[in-house]
């Protein structure tokens, strides 16, 4: 990321146009929704989706030929942010599609969901485009606060409220740690801007300063670990994924991982790249623990949402492998993994939403028994998703795992690669179990699956995209590699 930096005036509002538009639309949707009668709630949904599409178009119209800064260098627009934000918008679009029927069936089809969702998306985009610790913190808090509220969105559900409470408190602790770490770094380097911090770290520190920096670094790593859900900062994930309404789970489980990846890249690689040797050790520990705990505990789960929560933890372990390599190829591999995972998580939780109806959440593995008899097509889609998560060729998940594992092999950490392969084998068990349940177990009920055509179409596209990208992984891989050129 040593592209030429051009600053055109101190504000340079045009560059940040997508975020600005999205924030305006979020406020607009909030206002419009206030005056809409309940039966016209569809308009809120359509407006939210429209604003996502227009934001995406605006962003793609702002091509990346060089890195552009805005708002007094608080905001950065570069290839990394372009790619990540695009996928955040695409995935959020999918989440909104999946949400409509689900919310309507439960009489909670309210404007708040989309308003909070839009603000959260804006928060993620700001995180991704942060060029300054303050900006990053701001984006993170905007995202987190919206998510806390979304988890408790179905406020009559005790489990959801409990999950929201846990998430909020633990999130506050993590947030506090992040701020503490940032302030230490600021105190030692005298700057909040990532590039300045990097320069300060690089141009010599004595050992006392170094210890101070490591002190701050640890807090930042904890916060990032919490945001991503790496062991041992993962405890919130199973409870929140389980407790939250499934549409919220799919939201938390997909797009924010991209923002979390950006947070890692901005803070640790761009800002504290000079302390690479220090954080590499810590990330290795987090990665190995995550792969181990995630894959092993997932086996013991009977609840599909919880199982996917542990699966998330294990996937975080895998994507950290790419970052551990600390090479451009490794970062590209990690990014490829993150995008792949977000798509798989979207599909996986999407399947639960598809199966669920009012009074039946379809969140137990047993609820998928005999799906092949009820709907062969969606049993097939679910099989693709599970195989991809397990990392079986020819699906996208296979290439993602290959990329990160070969990245660590390239830097001679073969033992890590072997561990990763072992845990990935352990993981295959619980993914394949879903397939076994779908195809070989007797269906407990035979009600046909009913849901909107848009949902069916999007979910099918989601599943087939994972297969197609698995068959032709070159384009996505090339995109990721080009980001770190």
């Amino acid at each position: 990321m040593t592209a030429e930096i051009i600053t055109m005036g101190s504000l340079n509002i045009v560059t940040a146009m997508p975020e600005i538009f999205l924030l305006i639309m979020a406020c607009l949707v909030l206002l419009v929704d206030l005056y809409l009668p309940a039966e016209k709630r569809q308009l809120t949904y359509l407006l939210a989706q429209l604003s996502l599409i227009i934001t995406l178009v605006l962003m793609l119209m702002n091509p990346v030929t060089h890195t552009t800064l805005a708002f007094n260098e608080f905001y950065i627009h570069d290839p990394l942010s372009q790619v990540l934000k695009s996928f955040i918008l695409i995935i959020s679009f999918g989440v909104f599609v999946y949400s409509r029927d689900y919310l309507a069936q439960r009489n909670i089809f309210k404007g708040e969901f989309y308003v909070l969702g839009l603000f959260a998306i804006a928060g993620m985009m700001l995180m991704v485009s942060a060029n300054n610790m303050l900006m990053l913190y701001l984006g993170l808090e905007l995202l987190s606060l919206c998510l806390y509220a979304l988890v408790a969105y179905n406020r009559d559900n005790a489990k959801a409220s409990e999950a929201a409470m846990k998430y909020f408190i633990l999130g506050a602790i993590a947030s506090g740690m992040l701020l503490y770490g940032m302030s230490i770094i600021y105190g030692l380097t005298g700057s909040l801007k990532f590039t300045d911090i990097a320069t300060a770290v690089a141009t010599g520190t004595n050992s006392a300063q170094h210890i101070g920096l490591v002190f701050g670094l640890v807090f930042i790593v904890v916060a990032i670990g919490f945001k991503l859900g790496a062991v041992p900062f993962h405890m919130w994930i199973p409870d929140v994924y389980h407790g939250a309404p499934t549409v919220v789970t799919v939201f938390i489980g997909s797009a924010p991982k991209l923002a979390g990846f950006a947070m890692f890249m901005r803070l640790l690689v761009e800002g504290l790249g000079g302390l690479q040797a220090d954080w590499q050790q810590m990330v290795i520990v987090l990665s190995v623990l995550s792969m181990a705990v995630g894959n092993i505990v997932a086996i013991a789960q009977a609840n599909l949402k919880r199982m996917l929560a542990y699966s998330t933890i294990s996937h975080i372990g895998f994507l950290l492998l790419g970052i551990i390599a600390t090479t451009p190829d490794g970062y590209a591999a990690a990014m490829f993994y993150t995008i792949s995972y977000a798509l798989m998580a979207l599909g996986g939780f999407g399947m639960i939403i598809l199966m669920a109806r009012k009074g039946f959440e379809a969140e137990n593995i047993a609820d998928f028994a005999g799906l092949n008899q009820r709907s062969p097509w969606f049993a097939f889609i679910m099989s693709i998703l599970m195989l991809s998560m397990a990392g079986v060729p020819p699906t996208l998940g296979f290439w993602a795992k290959v990329a990160v594992i070969s990245a660590v092999i390239d830097v001679n950490m073969v033992w890590l690669a072997i561990l990763a392969v072992i845990f990935s084998i352990v993981g295959v068990f619980y993914y394949i179990r879903i397939i076994k349940v779908m195809y070989f177990d007797e269906a407990t009920e035979n009600t046909p699956i009913e849901c909107g055509r848009d949902m069916q179409l999007t979910l099918s596209t989601n599943g087939l995209a994972i297969l197609a990208l698995g068959l032709y992984p070159a384009a996505l891989m090339a995109l990721c590699v080009s980001v770190f050129k």
């Binding site: 633990l170 640890v218 790593v221 409870d239 068990f429």
Partner: protein, 662 residues
């Protein structure tokens, strides 16, 4: 010219493919017509090539027809080396094969009776049989015509495959299935050595082509290889011994001889063609072909000679106690193969190949005659139930007599010239172990004569011992059966005396066989050779003749004159008798040692390796460990907020530790 050569192996292949794949469409007549036509084309063309080489003195042709692939600089090719050795083999193989094809029409005509009525396996068995033997002819011709080790190996394995298919032709008989598996497995042992030999050739000569390898032979003979640390072996010796292990399997030499007697489970034409005349001699041919290598290794030659001598003697002895007509001839084949091997060991490659040729004729004759008897006896093979067949089967009787006289080496018959030469050559040889070998081959002469005429007398003379029904139906088989007998009887009588001058002491083989100046036993013999007639006259006064005559006399005395003596001898020498009847307990030893041993090993690996270690410890063990770990770790997720926060703090402290004390 190359097209002509190519047509020789391909004609039988075409016949085989048509008879094999379209057997149902073309019927029995179509199948035997097309395969006989194919083999006849081979035979005629072989004669043409023989004529060119014999009378027009055509030079040896070494041509590569097709480059299959090049791997690591090694070329895999299909090519022909046509010299006088090849030409002789081609002619013999195609002639015997043609005779057997014709004979088969009669022998297999009522083959449907050999299959259970409700078995589908018997459908088109007649056509299938013809397809197999034509395929065999193709494979054998490819083997002898090859100019490289790859094609040699192809032919080697292909004849092995067809042999396997044909031994087990009557696949509904457990004994046939047992026998073909045995043949296949024992040959695998030999082939393993053979493959190692070829691998060593590739490793040290860098080529599969005979000419290249022979050109480098002298260079290789100065190199050594260390098979075990501290022991260096001469490369050529290692190659020769390994190749000979292959020959031991294919040519049924001790200790890999056990499959050949059992191979008699196959139909008799097969026994004649594959397990007497041609395939089993492939090992002899191969060693003769490799003479430039063997000549450089004294130790390999010694091994070859001793192995052959042991086979010639010990297998002949077993032949004495057999009662199955085909098994007697089978053991006689083993013994004669031993003779050829001894000749190889004495560097008399031409004598070995010469005996190979004469043996091919008279042994095929004997087998086919035995088949004729078996047809007449309605597939009864026990000699104790025969006797006095002379008056019922006159043609079979006279041809059998010719074959028997040739086999025992009666002066004037083909077998005499080849066998006597071998005995004399061993006498003059300087190869290590030649004294022992001489003793063996000389005593084997007596034994050969004894068991051959024991068979002859028991079958054709004396009182008929068959039941009345069989006796009433005894008659000479049809012309397709007796014609080949006569056709084979002619060379059995004449070919030896007719060709000995050129083949053994002339310059027939030319450069095809190389004999080192140090191994001149045969040349020594040549100095005293003054034509076939004189050689024959000398034969009457040699020890071999008297031994043979004594053998015939003993057989007559014991089995015709005083039949009760046989029982007495059996009782007196019960120990030896049992030893011979049990074939020296080799089968039992192999079954116990290798069969039992590998089953024990397999069971051990299964119990400890698979069930306990892989399944128990690795697969189920790791799964149980993971499941246990999952249950324990799951408990950590208590649901209490302060536990979660506590975990975060622990994580924070852990990272501190890593950051500050790394």
């Amino acid at each position: 010219m190359e097209n002509l050569y190519l047509a020789i192996p391909l004609a039988p292949l075409v016949g085989s493919v048509i008879a094999g794949f379209f057997g149902a469409q073309i019927g029995r007549r179509g199948a035997h017509t097309v395969t006989i036509l194919g083999v006849a084309v081979s035979f005629v063309l072989s004669l043409v090539v023989l004529y060119q080489h014999l009378y027009q003195h055509a030079p040896a042709v070494n041509a590569t027809l097709y480059n299959w692939m090049i791997v690591g600089g090694i070329q895999f090719q299909v090519g022909f080396l046509i010299d006088n050795l090849t030409v002789m083999m081609m002619t013999v193989v195609s002639f015997v094969s043609l005779m057997v094809h014709i004979y088969t029409i009669g022998y297999m005509s009522d083959d449907l009776e050999n299959w259970p009525k409700d078995s589908l396996a018997g459908v088109n068995s007649y056509q299938r049989f013809f397809s197999y033997i034509a395929l065999f002819t193709f494979s054998m011709l490819m083997l002898v015509m090859s100019n490289n080790f790859m094609q040699l190996f192809f032919g080697w394995e292909a004849v092995g495959l067809v042999s396997y298919l044909l031994i087990g032709f009557w696949a509904v008989r457990p004994s046939a299935v047992y026998a073909n598996l045995k043949a296949f497995i024992v040959n695998r042992v030999g082939d393993f050595g053979f493959m190692l030999g070829i691998a060593a050739v590739v490793m040290y000569a860098g080529s599969l082509n005979y000419a290249d390898v022979f050109a480098k032979a002298h260079l290789m003979s100065t190199e050594t290889m260390s098979l075990f640390p501290g022991h260096n072996w001469n490369v050529v010796s290692v190659i020769c011994v390994l190749l000979f292990v292959g020959a031991m399997g294919k040519s049924a030499q001790i200790p890999l001889h056990v499959w050949l007697p059992d191979s008699m489970e196959g139909p008799t034409p097969i026994s004649a063609l594959i397990h007497a005349a041609t395939m089993v001699t492939a090992g002899i041919f191969m060693v003769a072909r490799m003479s430039p290598l063997y000549e450089l290794s004294e130790s390999a030659l010694s091994l070859v000679m001793v192995t052959g001598a042991l086979t010639a003697l010990l297998m002949g002895l077993v032949g004495i106690v057999q009662n199955d007509i085909k098994r007697v001839i089978a053991y006689s084949t083993l013994s004669q193969l031993g003779y050829m091997t001894v000749a190889l060991g004495a560097s008399a490659y031409s004598a070995a190949v010469f005996h190979l040729m004469t043996h091919a004729f008279f042994k095929a004759l004997l087998f086919l005659a035995a088949g004729s008897v078996i047809i007449a006896m309605h597939h009864e093979q026990d000699m104790r139930k025969m006797g006095g067949l002379k008056k019922y089967l006159p043609i079979t009787y006279w041809t059998s007599l010719i074959g028997s006289l040739a086999l025992i080496g009666f002066p004037g018959f083909s077998g005499f010239f080849s066998k006597d030469t071998i005995i004399d050559v061993v006498h003059h040889s300087t190869t290590g172990g030649h004294g022992f070998a001489y003793l063996c081959v000389l005593s084997a002469v007596f034994i050969t004569a004894f068991y051959t005429f024991r068979l002859f007398f028991l079958v054709f003379h004396g009182e008929p011992r068959m039941d009345a029904h069989t006796k009433a139906h005894l008659h000479e088989p049809p012309w397709v059966v007796w014609l080949p007998l006569i056709m084979l009887a002619i060379p059995s009588v004449f070919i030896g005396g007719f060709t000995i001058g050129d083949v053994l002491f002339g310059n027939y083989f030319g450069s095809a066989i190389y004999i080192s100046p140090h191994h001149e036993a045969l040349a020594e013999l040549g100095k005293h050779f003054h034509g076939a007639w004189a050689f024959m006259q000398e034969g009457f006064v040699g020890p071999a003749f008297y031994l043979a005559m004594f053998g015939v006399f003993s057989a007559w005395f014991i089995y015709m004159k005083r039949p009760e003596i046989a029982g007495v001898i059996k009782q007196k020498f019960a120990l030896i008798d049992t030893l011979l009847v049990k074939k020296y307990y080799v089968d039992e030893l192999y079954a116990w040692l290798f069969g039992g041993g590998s089953r024990l090993l397999g069971k051990g690996l299964w119990t400890f390796g698979d069930v306990r270690f892989i399944d128990g410890l690795l697969v189920n063990g790791s799964a149980q460990l993971v499941a246990w770990f999952a249950l324990v770790t799951r408990r950590l997720q208590t649901g209490f907020l302060y536990h979660y926060a506590f975990a975060m703090i622990i994580g924070l402290l852990m990272l501190f530790g890593l950051g500050l004390f790394r």
